[in-house]
Symmetry: C2
Subunit: 235 residues, 2 copies
């Protein structure tokens, strides 16, 4: 890995536990507003709208739209589907910002700090810049830059997102390593010439997860978590 | 300053001592290559090409070009003007990268760290992303994001650079404060609706500096250095 200069991280699921955090936020939201709803089902339904909403941008059906705004469209629809109305705008904004308050996995802060001692580290996430900034501050994570979808104005796994990140760092893709808990993200990064590290997150989707339990291809590194990734990198 | 959420920093001169650092790098370069040249004059001449080179982009004479590449064009010209030839490409790249190894002013690291406790902090520099990443790592500075010219594909003081930074943070310009040692930078930021903090750097251009010795307008804050700025912000 001598020529690797930068590690680029998927964030939702790889660095932070989006589901556990969003479930907690929905539970608090329901309690605050005297609502009866299943927080796990609501969180999964919200996340279920994630790929279709980004696909509208990728396909060109709608112009560039940041993830905060896609989340909000999905949330408005879910609230309507659940017969929830009469909420204040401030309350809806607060719930939509649940995605800015996701907790890191227990190993993320230390693993990332160790990795940063030797490598440039940046998120390469579909989350927008403001969302990534808030997540880092919330979780006490330090990045060298915020890269990803918004600076490319396109969503992963479209290649321009990976190429834009490498270009902004003035590095060839071969000097970048994509770190993700998702095989399809690594597949897209590898097809752009990047190196790959798979980090297993078998509870990202809760107890019954069936996807991405194991590496699907011969990735450059396969790690148990970000501390293990740091260890394998020798930092 | 209750509504201020983010502080955006000019970097060359405001956060780092570009002249002292580039002079040191040129002196080392001359010694390594057995050349006789005046490091101060060479540094000032190189910096003298900075505004004209960016003006070529601002005017549309040339397309978007990152500062690293503008620096290189200027360096090649200066080397030729000084009759210096026969250097290896690696040696020229090394000298051009002097701008990636600028030392922070003595107060910058502590001041910035204190400011970041309460505020989002990001460079809003004409330096490109890779250059800013290297400067931060060199000087042990921590930023929340790297904003500035490259993500706007335009150079300050063009308004789109300031507006793009605020937009990426999802903040109105009024919630952003521009921090700079240069009155013209603050003037441009203020005309975009940003708040302003002037930080005096009376030795940026060496002992004979005549410009920007004092605030030219009634900026929101006038500080002696970044520690003093933190103090005035109550952090």
């Amino acid at each position: 890995m001598e020529d690797t200069k930068a590690l680029l991280f998927d964030v939702f699921g790889t660095v932070v536990d989006w589901r556990g955090s969003v479930v907690r936020e929905i539970r608090d939201f329901a309690a605050r507003n005297g609502l009866t709803l299943n927080p796990e089902a609501f969180a999964d339904a919200w996340r279920g709208l994630y790929q279709p909403s980004m696909e509208r941008v990728r396909s060109g059906e709608i112009g560039w739209t940041v993830l905060d705004d896609l989340h909000r469209v999905g949330l408005d629809r879910l609230l309507a589907d659940n017969g929830i109305s009469g909420l204040s705008e401030a309350e809806i904004i607060r719930l939509n910002h649940a995605w800015h308050r996701l907790d890191p996995w227990p190993d993320s802060r230390e693993g990332l700090a160790r990795i940063r001692r030797r490598y440039i580290a940046a998120p390469l996430s579909n989350g927008n810049v403001a969302l990534m900034v808030d997540l880092a501050r919330h979780g006490d994570l330090v990045w060298d830059a915020i890269l990803g979808a918004e600076v490319a104005r396109q969503y992963k796994p479209r290649p321009e997102v990976y190429f834009t990140a490498a270009q902004l760092l003035r590095l060839p893709p071969e000097s970048c390593m994509m770190v993700a808990a998702h095989n399809d993200d690594l597949r897209a990064a590898a097809s752009c010439g990047m190196r790959t590290a798979f980090v297993a997150r078998p509870h990202e989707h809760g107890p019954g997860q069936t996807s991405d339990l194991a590496p699907a291809e011969n990735w450059n590194i396969v790690a148990e978590d970000l501390r293990d990734l740091a260890r394998q990198l020798g930092v």
